[in-house]
Amino acid sequence: MLTHQRRFSWLDYLQEQSINSQEPLLKCFYQSQLDFIQDKTLRSTEFVALDFETTGLCPEKDEIVSIGLVPFTLQRIKVAQAKHWLVRPQGQLSDESVVIHGITHSDLSQAPSLDKVLQSLLPELQGKIVVVHYQFIEREFLAQASARLMGEELIFPMIDTMAIEARWHRMGWRSELKRWFGVKQVSIRLADSRVRYGLPRYQMHSALTDAIATAELFQAQVRHRFSGEDYVSDIWQ
């Protein structure tokens, strides 16, 4: 993962990629992301909440089985423009993940392959800032997939609602003190985080429901912790 120790700058990175990338789809995408670097405030930004359902946690070995997204602004989450894809995996689907996601083998056998889905997915993210809960999954699986299918890793800044929760609940001396005394850490899982903001519990879990849930959580975080005038570049990862 990219860290500050490398004096990393998203600006430099995106500029570099928009020049060097050989894949038109990716090139175009990097270019659209560059707009956000300078002066986009949260209020003036279009976001898109993204969620993947995968067969496991290992990007090298596990596969994406469904993708959900919903575009939104600080004012409104646009459910009418939400998208959802099932993805046909290359390998065998374990019975375990079927139980978790409620997606059946036959659903998936009819679904398009990942490279088809990526062709549709990327234009949806263009010109928007991607918001996820726990960036590891979406970022790593996407990088892995693009490397495999297009020969280049796709990496770009994302806002992570879990990281925002962690910043509030897992850092600072209070949290440190709690850890010392063995007090249980505040949960920063999606469902538990939502409860802290008075958001409802959702019964069902799918990539789309979780994307909507993430968008709602981010709206709530901004209302409680940030201002619409804050810069996007201050809170992305």
Binding site: G68, F72, Q75, R76, I77, K78, V79, A80, A82, H84, Y197, G198, L199, P200, Y202, Q203, M204, S206, A207, L208, T209, I212, A215, E216, Q219, A220, R223, H224
Partner: protein, 626 residues
């Protein structure tokens, strides 16, 4: 539709009005909404904002305000708002603010309109406080001459099934079965000499399915008994020219399910309550029904929120002042009845019989929106203060507090059953009224405009009629009382100056306004009451009293018609003004600003005040102090 919106569809589908939608419509709503999160204290809408969505509270709670900042309603999970603004040129009339952190679903306007058009129950639910339906209905009325102008004759589906007075119960039941009707008219043939010896059928009674059950079968009566012994004799009837609306009021009032309709003295059909419900399932009847189904005070208070919108709707339907006043009174009476019922549930059955009285505008069927609760209790002559006093005090307090919460504030003059002075036995009331009539001192007359209009709404309501009969008989025979009452009716003068210019209030919050009730309708009602008592009319509604007065011939030519016009006009201006207040979210009152009227309206208003003025002069001459 994405299968994944099930979460949203499933949730909204649990709450009205979405619960009225079929599955596929729910899915289309779920996939079209927008969502937004509001922090506690944040404005969802401010007054005058543009609004293009119908709003559903997914979590949290929202408070709705009037324009003047007063709290209008508090909504929580599953409640909806915004429909009013959608129909008022897309401007927010009632601002909304998040009371807690809240998640709101927004249904786009176009979809909302589509749902209203396609699903009646959805539309009915949102219509109670929305104007869209109203506009639609007014249009419809112009198109097909609807609701308020439909006569009851139009609801008759078939010729009446009739049987002669000679028939037996068995024959009656047989013919009802053959014709598959739930009511049967019992008639007598009369040869009318006036019409050149033609035959006329005179209605003498009615027999219903229910009567067969309760009066015949369950009593084990011989089936050869004459039908005349089990029928309801001299049933209430209506002329075929009566408005459907009035038929409805009559049924509600007397708890009737079948009303024979008469033309030229003969029955031409029967209208059942189900016919009327089918015909207009969405007006004041609906609210009355709701009132009687509520189980707690809090629920009743919620229903009360819908009353202003129902009022506005009737105004939009061009109902007459008389019809609107009646409907509002029926609603007010229903609140009282339900509250009495709830009080009895709570306190146990009354130790002695009683009658809960409505006084003033409700008794006259002239109630509008803002109106004090004027009420009193008649107790049985078996009442003993030491034994029963506590019960009726608690009952009165329960009902009074309930009425206050339902939008009928406490009476400032304390004319309420909670005041021990106004809980009397029937004989005490008789003595009291006799004193007022025999010794009409200013004190006694102070409240006469309230007490001399009375009606029983709950319990032994016949006592109220007895008492009123007693009052009318005695008043009619006491010229001195009528003269005092006439003097009293002159105290409030119309707001016209020497040069026939409006005289307006000079100070206070109502500067340059006219109080239409105090200076217009109330003095006119007073004038009409004096005449009505003088001729011994038992009517309590001012229009009906005026009919009786005109018929009696005590007024000079044309004066009666002028009074009728003035009464209707003044009441209508007042009603329209109140409806406008409701729609703009302002506090409802009785004051108008003549500066804001058009020339024609000003002229009509002056004309009406003039009629009032001359009718007051006539009173002085007609009921002189001797």
């Amino acid at each position: 539709m994405e299968a994944e919106h099930i979460e949203i569809a499933e949730f909204i589908g649990r709450y009205p009005p979405f619960s009225f939608l079929p599955q596929d419509a729910l899915y289309s709503v779920a996939s079209a909404i927008e969502i937004s999160y509001y922090r506690q204290g944040a404005d969802v809408y401010c007054f005058g904002d543009e609004i293009h969505d119908f709003c559903f509270i997914r979590s949290g709670s929202v408070e709705i305000y009037r324009r003047n900042g007063h709290l209008y309603n508090r909504l929580s999970v599953g409640d909806v708002f915004g429909q009013l603004g959608l129909l008022m040129k897309n401007r927010v009339r009632l601002p909304a603010r998040a009371l807690e952190d809240s998640l709101i679903y927004f249904v786009p306007e176009a979809l909302f309109n589509e749902l209203c058009d396609n699903f009646d129950e959805f539309a009915y639910f949102v219509e109670v406080d929305d104007k869209r339906k109203l506009n639609k209905e007014v249009q419809q009325q112009q198109e097909d001459n609807a609701l308020s102008s439909v006569k009851v004759g139009a609801l008759i589906a078939r010729a009446p099934v009739m049987i002669s007075t000679q028939a037996s119960v068995r024959q009656a039941a047989q013919i009802m079965t053959e014709e598959s009707v739930s009511s049967l008219l019992i008639i007598e043939q009369i040869t009318s000499f006036e019409d050149g010896g033609g035959e006329r059928k005179k209605l003498v009674g009615i027999l219903t399915d229910r009567d067969l059950r309760t009066r015949v079968v369950s009593q084990g009566i011989d089936l050869e008994t004459p039908v005349t012994e089990v029928m309801t004799a001299s049933p209430k009837t209506l002329d075929k020219e009566t408005y459907v609306f009035e038929a409805m009021l009559m049924m509600l009032r007397f708890n009737l399910h079948h009303l024979p309709i008469i033309e030229h003295g003969s029955p031409i059909g029967v209208v059942a309550i189900s016919d009327i419900v089918r015909h207009e399932s969405k007006n004041s009847l609906y609210i009355v029904g709701l009132i009687h189904r509520q189980q707690t005070l809090a629920e009743l208070a919620l229903v009360a929120n819908d009353v202003p919108a129902c009022f506005v709707r009737m105004v939009g339907q061009e109902s007459s002042a008389h019809m609107i006043g009646s409907a509002m009174s029926v609603i007010g009476r229903s609140f009282k009845q339900r509250l009495c019922e709830l009080a009895e549930e709570k306190l146990g059955p009354p130790p002695v019989p009683y009658c809960f009285l409505a006084l003033g505008s409700m008794a006259r069927d002239e109630q509008l929106l803002i109106t004090d609760q004027d009420n009193a209790l008649i107790l049985s002559d078996d009442y003993e203060a030491a034994k029963h006093g506590d019960y009726f005090e608690s009952l009165a307090e329960f009902v009074s507090e309930g009425l206050d919460r339902c939008g009928y504030p406490y009476c400032s003059g304390r004319i309420m059953a909670t005041n021990p002075r106004w809980r009397k036995t029937l004989s005490e009331w008789r003595t009291c009224f006799a004193d007022w009539i025999d010794v009409p001192n200013p004190d006694a007359l102070l409240n006469c405009s309230v007490f001399f209009d009375l009606e029983g709404v709950w319990g032994n309501v016949a006592w109220a009629d007895d008492l009123y009969q007693f009052i009318v008989n005695r008043a009619q025979k006491t010229p001195k009382f009528l003269a005092s009452l006439a003097r009293n009716a002159l105290l409030r003068t119309p707001p016209l100056g020497f040069f026939k210019e409006f005289v307006m209030e000079q100070d206070g919050a109502h500067r340059r306004t006219i109080n239409l009730k105090r200076r217009g309708t109330a003095p006119l009602v007073d004038v009409i009451r004096v005449h009505a008592l003088a001729i011994g009319s038992l009517a309590r509604n001012s229009s009906e009293r005026l009919e009786d007065v005109i018929e009696s011939g005590i007024l000079p030519d044309k004066r009666g018609q002028e009074l009728k016009y003035a009464l209707e006009y003044l009441a209508m201006v007042r009603i329209r003004h109140q409806a406008e207040d409701v729609e703009s979210g302002e506090d409802v009152d009785n004051t108008i600003e003549p500066d804001k009227l058009s020339d024609i309206e000003r002229r009509n208003l002056k004309e009406a005040f003039n009629v009032l003025s001359s009718s007051q002069r006539f009173l002085k001459y007609r009921y002189p102090f001797s």
